[in-house]
Amino acid sequence: MAPRLEINGLSKFFPGVRALDDVSMSVEAGEIRALLGENGAGKSTLGKIVAGVYSRDQGTVLVDSAEIGTLDEKAAGDLGIGIVHQEGSLVPQLSVAENIFAGRQPTQWLGQVNVRAMREQAKALIAQLGVAIDPALKVSALSPAQAQIVEIAKALSRDLRILILDEPTAALTLTETEKLFDVVRRLAGNGVSVVYVSHRLAEIFSLCHSVTVLKDGRLAGTRRVAETSTDELIRLMVGRDVHFSRSAAGRRIGDIVLEAQDVEAPPLVRSASITVRAGEIVCLAGLIGSGRSEFCEAIFGARRRHGGSIRIGGTAIDPKGPWDGKHAGIGMVPEDRKAAGLFLGMDIVNNVAATVLSRVSSGANFSNRKAEALARNFVDELRIATPSVHQIVGNLSGGNQQKVLLAKWMAMEPRLLIVDEPTRGVDVGARSEIYRLLRALADKGVALLVVSSDLPEVLALADRIVVMAEGRTVGELRGDGASEEQVLRLATRYTASVAEVRKQPGMAEA
């Protein structure tokens, strides 16, 4: 039988960059194919070409043996090609239901939109992902995880032949991920071909049938999942071995840098306390919606605090805005790099300079020379793949954007660096580099507070793990020796009262 999707000799050029170079692959009906590769390897570009977002420069794409010419997103959709974009494509001002059915709303006899029917269908689509989101809500009111669910529901709202999922789980929790996998498996069972992009190797082994690896825009190999191993895939992707072991060398942990007590920032933060010492990496774990990010924002000054106290190096601070937090020596890498982190239309130089305007100036003058030097340093140090420091950040691949975001805050040389989801959408190689960088920062005496939903990441990084649930810090574990299970138990155990959890044997009070 002819393959569902066949790609032959596909190439794509951007100014100064060859994103795809003579790539061929074919996917059978009902097959779930993983697409792997480092940041900037060309995965998203490939997905976008198949989905009609980008035009191709060379090569052919065949769907069910029929060659598709140049097509736009709508034509691709009509062919049954659905895509969930890595960077999100929802219109924040419109409702969930309107986003899902954009341009194809169910209508009544005069052509007016049948809002009721639209909302009901949207609700059903979302429900199969095991989540309840009010379809009448505006997308701007959703959390990143909820927005991701809506993206997926939107792709599922059509009759699909091919579904491309570009890092769909980056913002999801375990349960939501499992639900998504169920849906994907069911679709594949019905003959839909799935192209699944992810940096999480474990997901690929549990979900996919086969895997294609890209390296530097070229095909590095295709394997059946049953016949390959993590090590082999990493070698294909990175060209060397990568390890995530905890650093054995003990760090010198110094004085308390951050001491936050009973911080209240309704509605999501009820009563949270934490201390972080110089040279220490503390991970804040918990389910999505447990108030971790909001707690961090309250410490930084990006969210109104109603109660509690915050001390930095023993001095009480009351940040009224991020500038106050920054002034006290706090940096914060936000979770949502596109909306809150980066200046996508500006180049790397300006993005990196944004937090350190006074340092890249001589007197009152902004010095392009100093800013460029600073950016160049970080491009080298973090190995950001880019043709030049003047590349527009919006044109970088997702993982390289994440590195620019980190650079922006490392440039500020904070005493306390809060990092919300440090490796979202980052490839294995870069991930181990980011861990190395964070550890190096801690070695230099920076206090690090890391929020992460990725438990292996928490276990690899943390000196101490603080768990939040329902807006409260409910427990604390030592980093080495902790298991995923222990963390999860703390995060979900919270039921009737905090006191109950605190009575659990073997758990220090938070």
Binding site: F13, F14, P15, G16, V17, R18, A19, D21, G40, A41, G42, Y54, D57, D216, G217, A302, G321, P322, W323, G325, K326, H327, M332, P334, A339, A340, G341, L342, F343, L344, G345, M346, N350, A354, T355, L357, S358, V360, S361, A364, N365, F366, A385, T386, P387, S388, I392, G394, N395, S397, K408
Partner: protein, 336 residues
């Protein structure tokens, strides 16, 4: 991904012919595009109308007439870089001019005080705009559309049909001319503002913050930039500039006219966008803005010399605007 030589000739680009490449090069720098257009237009006019265009008196008239728009463009460019704008500038200009006239002409206070009062009134109008936008959170289009009518109405309330004449001492502020070129003070004031403003916005880190705000206000806020405070300052600067333009205009005519500056906001915004500002914010330079003003002024002048009716001017300026903005599509740095 493989990184080829920065901006190397990819297959795609090699296929382009010379013409496209020239257009692309021009489109990459709006300032360069405008500069070439301005020079070309001036040359063409000098050749076609050697007796009317390149004369001292015509030049003087052109430069003097563009002075108020030029001053306002400095402020509007700053606001648009920061992702916002002010529609009330024309009314602010009239209101400030009338207050200067009242203080000097009716109350008989010294001309210096009148000038200061005029500028302060303008700054105050800007402050009110800024507070409405940043504190109450009303969108700039609605907020300044509201104050556009409010300030105009306050102008009528203050001075009825205007103040004419004001005083000779006051008029001197708008009429003093330099001995060499004999161009009156509004032009020189504008030139100084453009030079200082151009330097400030292009170079200083304080004004650089406006680019970040326009680029992504939320990211700017989270980077520790005081977004609201800066936008407020931007509006105050805009108001003060409108105040200055109003005062000098009133002084030059020795008459504070209540209808001064009607519709000027559209001309200012046209020049600003022509000069490289984007409605999304984060882009533009003062130099571009002033070249935009110059370009529009030349086109208007050409039409006057050609004796083409004023009715056609809007059409031509509009077409030029659309043309210049469509050049953006050729930019190499833009997203694919």
């Amino acid at each position: 991904m493989q990184i080829t030589q920065p901006l190397a000739e990819t297959a795609e680009r090699r296929r382009e012919n010379l013409f496209v490449r020239i257009v692309r090069r021009l489109a990459d720098s709006r300032e360069l595009t405008l500069f070439v257009l301005v020079v070309a237009l001036a040359l063409a006019m000098s050749i076609v109308y050697p007796n009317n265009f390149p004369t001292a008196s015509n030049m003087r008239a052109v430069l003097l007439n563009l002075a108020p728009v030029g001053m306002l463009v400095c402020g509007m460019m700053l606001l648009m870089i920061g992702g916002t704008f002010d529609l009330s500038v024309g009314s602010t200009l009239a209101f400030s001019g009338v207050w200067a006239g009242v203080v000097a002409g009716w109350w008989g206070w010294p001309a210096e005080i009148a000038v200061l009062v005029g500028i302060m009134v303008g700054a105050l109008c800007g402050l009110v705009n800024g507070l409405i936008v940043t504190r109450i959170g009303i969108n700039a289009l609605i907020a300044t559309l509201g104050t556009l009518t409010i300030y105009r109405s306050l102008t009528y309330v203050t001075a009825g049909t205007g103040v004419t004449p004001i005083t000779d001492a006051f008029a001197e502020y708008g009429r003093a001319a330099d001995p060499l070129f004999r161009i009156q003070s509004p032009f020189w004031a504008m030139l100084v503002l453009v030079l200082i403003g151009g330097w400030l916005v292009a170079r200083t880190r304080f004004f650089r913050q406006f680019y970040f705000i326009g680029g992504n206000p939320r990211a700017a806020q989270l980077s520790g930039i005081r977004v609201d405070r800066l936008i407020l300052i931007g509006f105050v600067i805009m108001g003060a500039l409108a105040g200055l333009a109003g005062v000098l205009g009133a002084a030059r005519l020795n008459s504070a006219v209540v209808n001064a500056g009607v519709g000027i906001e559209l001309k200012v915004i046209t020049a600003t966008v022509l000069g490289g500002a984007s409605l999304k914010g984060g882009e533009g330079t003062i130099l571009g803005g002033i070249l935009g003003v110059l370009f529009i002024a030349l086109i208007e002048n050409a039409m006057i010399i050609n004796a083409i009716g004023v009715f056609w001017q809007g059409l031509v300026v509009g077409l030029v605007l659309l043309f210049a903005v469509s050049l953006d599509r050729f930019k190499t740095s833009g997203r694919a």
